[in-house]
């Protein structure tokens, strides 16, 4: 049994935190944490608004095996270590969610669920939320068999059946986490081949508990008063009903850019359009990680981009000094 020492929540002093800063970092995942470490070490007067999901999506990944320096580490342990490092460097965190932003008199106003900040520069590192398919039953059974977090919810499916929908790295990693717990696992993917790293994909597909449904789409989640009882799939052989107790969805993500729509240019998928890796259409705003259109959604690239953002802000502040 482990006891995780992570006390960042103490910093949430709602209502007492408004103020004027050189830099506001919006987000709580690896990109924001890396930006925070660098901002603190550069001595930039900053605040990190980390919202209600500390560690972001990375914290929900059971095992990360491609972050240099660690052959295998729980995503939550990696992000907790980053947070600890940021706090030790002097980073300031608030457990607040950014609700809106606008430019006023050459500064940026950042409004959260409990305070307001003005800042010279803003780093958008709010990541992305799991995408949904919009199929019948998906909303209705969320929390009652439909899940986006195998790490959190796997214990509820011990010796039960589960279906994972998706074919990317997240789907495969989480399916490999679930496989230790469930009695059988269905893998539903819209193509005939997984997009995930081949090493992980093979490990999953070859597992004796796994049944694959290639070229198939989730059409409906069925259930009763107790929760999920099955899924209906559109397969090349026609509609198929599969009995299952749980459905884990990893069908992509939606960038969390809603509060920034008036500030920066977004692409058609709502990702922040970047220039020179971390710049945006707004010279006062930088962006890093899954919220951008940079494409390669990995912890290692997110932390790199976060660091570049704070370095860019530091250079700008220095040039004015």
């Amino acid at each position: 049994m482990s006891f995780k020492v992570e006390i960042g929540l103490v910093d949430s002093g709602a209502g007492q935190t408004s103020g004027s800063y050189q830099l506001v970092i919006a987000g709580g995942g690896p990109a924001a944490l890396s930006a925070a470490i660098y901002a603190a070490r550069y001595g930039i007067r900053h605040v990190v608004l980390e919202s209600w999901k500390p560690g972001g999506q990375a914290a929900l990944t059971a095992e990360i095996e491609n972050y240099p320096g660690f052959s295998s580490i729980a995503g939550s342990d990696l992000t907790a270590a980053m947070k600890k490092q940021a706090l030790e460097a002097g980073a300031v965190f608030r457990m607040e969610t950014v609700e809106g932003t606008k430019e006023i008199d050459g500064r940026i106003l950042v409004k959260t669920d409990s305070a307001e900040y003005t800042t010279e520069y803003l780093i958008i590192a709010t990541g992305a939320a799991p995408a949904t398919l919009g199929v019948p039953g998906e909303d209705k059974y969320y929390g009652r068999g439909v899940s986006f977090c195998a790490t959190c919810d796997a214990p509820f499916f011990k010796n039960k059946r589960a279906v994972v929908v998706g074919g990317g790295d997240s789907a495969v990693k989480e399916a490999l986490h679930l496989i230790h717990v469930v009695s059988e696992l269905g893998l539903v993917h819209r193509r005939d081949k997984l997009r995930a790293e081949p090493y992980l994909a093979k490990k999953l597909v070859d597992h004796e508990k796994v049944t694959t449904y290639w070229n198939s789409h989730l059409a409906e989640v069925t259930g009763d008063d107790q929760g999920v009882t099955g899924v209906i799939l559109d397969t090349p052989e026609g509609r198929k009903h599969i009995d299952t107790d749980g459905v884990f969805l990893y069908v992509g993500t939606i960038p969390a850019t809603e509060p920034f729509v008036s500030l920066v240019e977004l692409d058609r998928k709502k990702a922040v359009v970047t220039r020179n890796i971390v710049g945006t259409s707004n010279p006062r705003v930088f962006a890093a990680g899954d919220v951008t259109n940079n494409g390669f959604r990995q912890v290692v690239t997110a932390v790199s981009e976060g660091a570049r953002c704070s370095a860019a802000v530091f250079d700008l502040l220095e040039s004015k000094a």
């Binding site: 049994m1 482990s2 006891f3 995780k4 020492v5 992570e6 006390i7 929540l9 103490v10 949430s12 002093g13 709602a14 209502g15 007492q16 919202s51 209600w52 999901k53 500390p54 560690g55 914290a59 929900l60 939550s76 992000t79 600890k84 457990m95 607040e96 969610t97 669920d113 409990s114 969320y142 929390g143 009652r144 068999g145 439909v146 899940s147 977090c149 790490t151 959190c152 919810d153 796997a154 214990p155 509820f156 107790q226 929760g227 999920v228 749980g246």
Partner: protein, 202 residues
């Protein structure tokens, strides 16, 4: 062998330095060895402001172990506060030992106007990194208003209760049996939703 490493203890001691008021933590447990008792004993040694009371209960129906922070009996953990719930426990202790405001003005106004008691149950698992914010929010509401009781419930340790409240995902916040929220939600979202729900009920 201690459950906390020297490095953990150092970090916790640093955070416990924020505590200015005495905090009583009460553990109610079944007879016999308890990991929760071990970890609380280790915590107790890290601050002179902490007092640990251990009570043995032989009641079979009791939800044990149970940890209560403060003297009101309204800030509760049901089950072993391990994994990420240990962070919630630490935050609860630190919050109880400080006088700083921890809720927004809107939330405090809502709680000041409560006409009925509220019982918040937050179902969690130790492996859920997004659960602590929901637990901490519920506990802060209970710390602020004597009309609120807030329990963090380790869903795996109480399967019957989890079944009763149809918990198959965490965090799941159930309020007064009639209102529930899935996932970790900001304070304003929870309070607004609850406010609307109570208006509808009345």
């Amino acid at each position: 062998m201690p459950l906390l490493s020297d490095e953990d203890k150092k970090a916790i001691r640093g955070h416990f330095n924020l505590i200015t008021e005495n905090v009583t933590v009460t553990l109610t447990k079944a007879p016999g060895k308890s990991e929760t008792e071990t970890i609380l004993n280790e915590l107790n040694e890290l601050s002179t402001k902490l007092t640990l009371i251990v009570v043995e209960s032989k009641k079979e129906s009791a939800m044990l172990p149970s940890v209560s922070i403060g003297s009101t009996g309204r800030i509760l953990f049901r089950g072993t506060p391990s994994g990420y719930e240990f962070s919630s426990l630490l935050t609860g202790i630190i919050d109880s030992g400080r006088t700083e405001k921890t809720l927004s003005d809107e939330t405090m106004a809502f709680l000041n106007n409560l006409q009925e008691d509220i019982h918040i149950r937050v179902f969690v698992t130790p492996t859920c990194p997004h659960c602590p914010p929901s637990v901490v929010l519920a506990h802060r509401m209970a710390a602020y208003s004597d009309r609120v009781i807030a329990e963090a419930i380790e869903a795996n340790e109480f399967p019957d209760l989890s079944r009763k409240y149809q918990v198959q995902g965490v965090p799941r916040t159930v309020i007064n049996e009639t209102y529930s929220v899935e996932g970790s939600q900001p304070e304003s979202y929870l309070v607004e939703g609850l406010k609307k729900h109570m208006e509808k009920q009345s």
